[in-house]
Symmetry: C2
Subunit: 282 residues, 2 copies
């Protein structure tokens, strides 16, 4: 047992898992129209930490574990992803990874809170580095409204959303998933982050039930994210007409691997193999 005067970022889950990171100081703290935004300095190789409503969104040191996996798995399962929609993702990490693909012609980022983007630009240069890309359009709007009239628009949609227990609650509904489905072109793919499979077990089951009502193809892949409680994260690959691993653009995958710390072709093929206790998420 430890006991000292150190400042910590701590996060606990109902299942008992928690993470704890020593914090040197709070660099920034603000209440936006939507949420509390904080930037903490970890004083370790994790670097600066972005939190929204006291929940960690990203650390400079290991954000790539999350951003590479949410982006490259669907993008390389599509032969030519040109039009991309990102919902949430105001820190910029998902935008950055999407622009590693030379097929991309237009990226729409629909983020409700402009202060998240502003904070990332100020404190997180490695995350926000593509915010000035001329192919990027940022729309500050509630995604629930934004998606309603979008039909047959996108090759890939990425739901880089906050937790269902926080600001993101309206983004975890069957109606929303059906609207996202209808926004996809034929051959389109949606991937959504689907939380920690060891922390929010009941919420994940409900989420997958809704996803399966909206999409005929729903498949789970997982990877490690060291700074999230439980160290383990899941994403749902969803489509009307594309099976996961039915196609991988191996030439582009090779190029992407050169730019990545996590992604490679073997890891891509392996990430759908789930431990037995997650069988029901298959």
């Amino acid at each position: 047992m430890q006991d000292d005067e150190q400042l910590y970022y701590q996060e606990f889950t109902p299942s008992g898992y928690g993470i704890s990171i020593k914090v040197k100081k709070v660099l920034f703290s603000e209440e936006s129209e939507f949420q509390k935004i904080e930037v903490l300095d970890s004083d370790s190789k994790l670097g600066k930490i972005l939190t929204l409503d006291d929940l960690m969104v990203a650390t400079e040191g290991d954000e790539y574990f999350y951003h590479e996996m949410i982006v490259h798995i669907p993008m390389l399962n599509h032969p030519c992803p040109k039009d991309i929609l990102i919902i949430g993702g105001g820190d910029g990490g998902t935008v950055r990874e999407v622009f590693k693909h030379n097929t991309v012609e237009h990226v729409t980022l629909c983020e409700i809170d402009k202060e998240v983007v502003a904070t990332s630009k100020k404190f997180f240069p490695t995350l926000s580095c593509e915010f000035d890309n001329p192919k990027l359009e940022i729309i500050y709007e509630n995604a629930i409204e934004f998606i309603k009239d979008k039909k047959n628009c996108y090759d890939v949609v990425l739901l880089d959303t906050p937790d269902p227990l926080s600001l993101g609650v309206g983004l975890f509904t069957e109606e929303f998933y059906k609207n996202v489905r209808d926004s996809l072109k034929d051959g389109g793919i949606m991937v959504t982050q689907s939380e920690s499979p060891v922390a929010l077990e009941e919420e994940i089951k409900e989420m997958y039930s809704m996803l399966k009502n909206a999409f005929s193809i729903v498949s789970t892949y997982t990877s490690v994210i060291p700074t999230y409680p439980g160290g383990y994260w899941a994403w749902a690959f969803c489509s009307k007409d594309v099976e996961p691993l039915s196609f991988i653009d191996e030439k582009r995958a090779e190029e992407i691997t050169q730019k990545c710390k996590i992604y490679n072709l073997n890891y891509h093929k392996a990430c759908y193999a789930l431990p037995t206790f997650l069988d029901e998420l298959k």
Copy 2:
């Protein structure tokens, strides 16, 4: 940031990752001849926690993430594992998993500290449930001495050791690995836990360098362990003559899967696919 009077088990690594588990009370605390042994009650589904010298060894709630992976990957890569040596592993979880294989004729557990075994028997019935198996022989001895005269004895050796920074230091040497190699029969396999690849990066590199001097075949596999810092763990598959995945006993694998929460054949085949930043551990 959180700040309250709750009691925590916390563990931090040089890389900044830490875990934190709320603790209801300390159930047991004793200094054995070798180390401090504690049992904590987590008051969550993680159940009771065993710590040695203030480092977590296992929680009742998620110990199977570790024990299934250290045991079944090598055991199913061997056509008929009869004689098994476990070094360390005094909590009993590795013993329990080994006895799931109906090929096993004799298991030797070489554990230096009899108080670890006694503590597990008293507080961890789900871990210690095979300690009375008549095919098990427990030897309370320093494994460095024990292994020296063992030649051509074992089909599978499992190094279920403490950290190289603690009591286990002498078990992370080239001489020790060479003695373990010589204790294997032809076709034999050694697996050692090889720490968190995101926490002890330098120590792991040194460890793999020594392993490669002792064994002609060294290959890394990984899996998630939610309660270890970083949530991610690596094991080294080592042999003189057996390649990983060159053989899997699929019939036995099917039987083992029925008794497991993590292990299944797909997960087995996928666990050697490493994220790019671990390429050097291949």
